[in-house]
Amino acid sequence: MTNAGTTVTADLPTPAVRLPRRRGIELTLIVVAVLLSVYGYCAVGLARNGTVPPGAAGYGAGLGVLALLAHVAVRLRAPYADPLLLPIGVLLNGLGLVLIYRLDLETPGDRAAPTQLVWSTLGVTLFIVVVLALRDHRVLQRYAYVCVAAALALLTLPVFFPAVNGARIWIRIAGFSIQPGEFAKVLLAIFFAAYLAANRNALAYTGRRVWRLQLPTGRVLGPIVAIWLISVGVLVLERDLGTSLLFFGLFVTLLYVATGRTGWIAVGLLLAALGAVAVGRLEPHVHSRVLDWLHPFASIDAGQGPNQLAQSLFAFAAGGLLGTGLGLGHSILIGFAAKSDFILATAGEELGLAGLSAIFILYGLLVERGYRAGLALRDPFGRLLAVGLASIVALQVFVIAGGVTGLIPLTGMAMPFLAQGGSSVVTNWAIVALLIRVSDSARRQYDMEVAA
């Protein structure tokens, strides 16, 4: 199916067969996702107070209505879409709300769950708008340069606002904190996909050959490297290294997928190594992160008590195989950012390795569905867009989950859907909406060919 070329049409005997649209599966899975989230919400209340929390019905109804509206939108405008994408989004978002609500119980003065619910609603609304308004993803190709301009503007914006916790990545408007970099990554993915789709032949087959590496011409490569350098430069200035790493990964992945030059991987890794060494030398902030990663318990040995990473590792360890149960862990010991960057530690402690693996596999499925859509599509822009969006999720999960579990140096970043942070939730819903759109196109093109 993925390699469906022009020959397929000729081979098929009966044009009357239509592919199943699988919307019923989607609805069933959404119901399961909502019920699981409500169960988690109740489990927290039962563990903490012995009673079902008073808001359980409202919470379930709210999440259910949002999911159903999204489902209806998909039914109306993207009937061929992949049926796993939306339920995974609903389950992860619901689980994130449960975890944030659970951590709110430890910080009665600072409740994040209601705000997160508002942002989730906005996210689902954006999802619905994108699914309804964007009839064909190829339209986006036309706005590539608008996207990149907007992305750069968004990335530059926080520089003019005061730094929060050492990073200039937030802007505060009317009580809401917005992280413009989150939106920028989708826009950049669109731009990269559009630009590479248009220029991939030039990138792949022209230019000088140095040893075994085929280098592209400067005329083609110039703009893309410039934009990448600017975005990374802005991020280093803003001290948001997680996003910087994400952009870099996205850039290299798409470049490789578009051109197939292994040389890009070599150049990419070289650039990454140089960048890492330079930033590690110049930025004390980054340097200390690397030291923390190498010796997470150094601060304990120095008599200063455990740092956040050590606390995070303690939380995961306390979870063991099956976890302490929702509401019964002590991940709040992590302190600052327990609800955002370190939210996964709460999942690890209270749901155990079993629950953590389930969450990883949900992300894995989401990414896999994105890649699958990319494989099924025929237009290069759609393929690159699907791969790019899925890669954003994959890289983001790896960077932050690897960071809080001590696999790689910790860089601040939001766990998609789970972590507290409005911009992130909204962006993730936009990603899922775009994936729904491209997966719908992938399936629809096939169906139309069959029908023809």
Binding site: T2, N3, G5, T253, Y256, V257, A258, G260, F297, I300, G305, P306, A310, L313, F314, F316, A317, A318, G319, G320, L321, T324, H330, L333, G348, G352, L353, L356, S357, F360, I361, Y363, G364, V367, E368, Y371, G374, L375, R378, P380, R383, V387, A390, S391, A394, L395, V397, F398, A401, G402, T405, G406, L407
Partner: protein, 490 residues
């Protein structure tokens, strides 16, 4: 072209799979293989949180809990509370979230905090369920009336009381004054920090458990040991036969002479020498008995025993075994290096009262689960030691009774009971300049009792400002009397 891109997408997907696998493997490493060392890291507060996450078990006196737990609503949730904290502080000690535990709170911590494996209904049950046992209870041997009588008797004075049931070794009262409220140290906030600083800088040392952790020169009360040694060794065979003891008594090998407070001690027979506490007679008796026999008897009573636990450790009482004759003479009247805790002197009186048999003292009758099922009991298999011949014990009882009926200890006499006692006034400080310690050790047997029911030791450090008033009979005996009455129910 499309095929090439498909291959690239597949490779990129494989790379993402690799990232996912790396995350899963690393999560397994931390959550399964590193789990134990991380859990046990002292900087990991989870074990501390779990410890205070449930109410601590109770310490019971006379069937009533003297401790409780308060839900502080903080991260370390339950804080210890005490009913009559100062009264029972020498027994309970404190259980502080910041400063650890002492005394029963320390030695029975496993039961009280619920970590003792004996508390779980089935072996390995808790490992499976991740459940925590509720804290168990510790039932003490204390007699609440005796404890209160001792505490009230000491009042504002500095001192200590220890009372034992001679036939079993059960500790009936253990009091130290001035005392403190251990509840002030329970929490972890500023209040607890301030209390800790205040108690530690207090010159009266309220947290010092004088009944078991402070040794005093026992003074004349030690003459019970010396008399028993003399009778056991056969140095004295007839209580009423005159001894050959000069007054004043020149300490052997020195030019120092020892005198008495009163007259009539020269060549006094053991009975009247004991009754009137003649230093000269007992100093010479000690020398006549010799170092070996004196040490033997003292150690049989429990001196020089570094391993006494009730269940918390008791400071060893000392009788110096490498002494010359002059030092032995002084040691035998409870001076020089002879030092004893009040509990040790109560053991001396108890051994006399119990026919020469010394039962190891103990404070915990039994431990139970929260529901009341017994986890362990003190049992009757506790070691017994013969401190003196039974015949010697009979004679010693007679001597001690005489002290109360007509000697220095008449203040301890109880109508309707047989009481034996011995007073003591111990000089201390450089050149004996310190305020003397008033001692009284005694035992009592009610008219209808088959055997003595209580043995007491009382020490009062600063009995009063007026030095001449300080005496074992005057200051300490009434307190002992009140304790004995409380036990006998008179």
């Amino acid at each position: 072209m499309t095929d090439a891109m498909t291959r690239h997408i597949r490779l990129a997907a494989a790379f993402c799979t690799l990232l996912l696998l790396a995350l899963l493997v690393n999560a397994t490493r931390i959550q399964v293989f590193q789990s134990r060392p991380y859990d046990d890291n002292p900087a990991n507060r989870r074990q501390t949180i779990a410890r205070y996450d449930q109410p601590r078990g109770a310490i019971l006196v006379g069937g009533r809990a003297i401790t409780g737990s308060r839900d502080s609503g903080e991260q370390l949730r339950y804080e210890r509370t005490y009913r009559n904290g100062p009264l029972y502080a020498p027994v309970t000690g404190f259980a502080s979230q910041e400063y650890g535990t002492t005394f029963l709170e320390h030695s029975e911590d496993g039961i009280l905090s619920g970590t003792d494996e004996m508390l779980s209904p089935l072996p390995l049950w808790n490992d499976l369920t991740r459940a925590q046992n509720p804290g168990g209870n510790v039932v003490t041997t204390l007699n609440p009336a005796a404890q209160k009588a001792a505490y009230d008797g000491l009042g504002t004075r500095t001192g200590a009381v220890a009372a034992i049931e001679p036939s079993t070794g059960r500790i009936l009262a253990l009091v130290s004054t001035p005392s403190y409220d251990p509840g002030a140290l329970s929490g972890n906030g500023r209040t607890a920090n301030r209390s800790w600083a205040r108690l530690n800088s207090d010159p009266d040392k309220p947290m010092l458990n004088r009944a078991v952790r402070q040794t005093y020169p026992p003074g004349s009360t030690f003459k019970v040991v010396t008399a028993a040694a003399a009778l056991d060794a056969g140095v004295v065979t007839d209580l009423d036969a005159a001894t050959t003891s000069p007054d004043p008594y020149p300490l052997p090998g020195t030019s120092t002479t020892l005198t008495n407070e009163g007259d009539g001690c020269a060549d006094a027979p053991l009975r009247s020498a004991f009754e009137w506490s003649c230093n000269t007679v007992f100093a010479k008796l000690g020398v006549d008995v010799g170092v070996r026999n004196m040490s033997g008897t003292a150690e049989a009573f429990g001196f020089n025993d570094t391993g006494v636990r009730i269940p918390f450790a008791v400071s060893p009482s000392t009788f110096d075994t490498s002494v010359d004759k002059a030092q032995l003479a002084l040691s035998s009247i409870g001076q020089y290096n002879t030092r004893a805790t009040p509990l040790q002197m109560a053991m001396v009186a108890a051994a006399v009262a119990n026919g020469g048999q010394l039962r190891q003292p103990y404070l915990v009758e039994r431990t139970t689960r929260r529901g009341g099922e017994t986890v362990s009991t003190a049992g009757s298999s506790r070691p017994v030691r013969q401190a003196m011949h039974p015949a010697t014990a009979v004679q010693m009882k007679e001597l001690m009774e005489d002290v109360v009926t007509e000697g220095t200890g008449t203040n301890a006499a109880i109508p309707g009971a047989t009481v034996g006692g011995k007073t003591g006034t111990a000089q201390h400080g450089i050149g004996n300049s310190g305020t003397p310690y008033a001692w009284f050790v005694s035992w009592a047997q009610g008219e209808r009792d088959m055997e003595p029911k209580v043995a007491v030791a009382v020490v009062v450090e600063d009995a009063s400002a007026d030095r001449s008033d300080i005496s074992g009979g005057g200051d300490a005996a009434p307190i002992a009397k009140a304790v004995m009455e409380a036990v006998l129910g008179l």
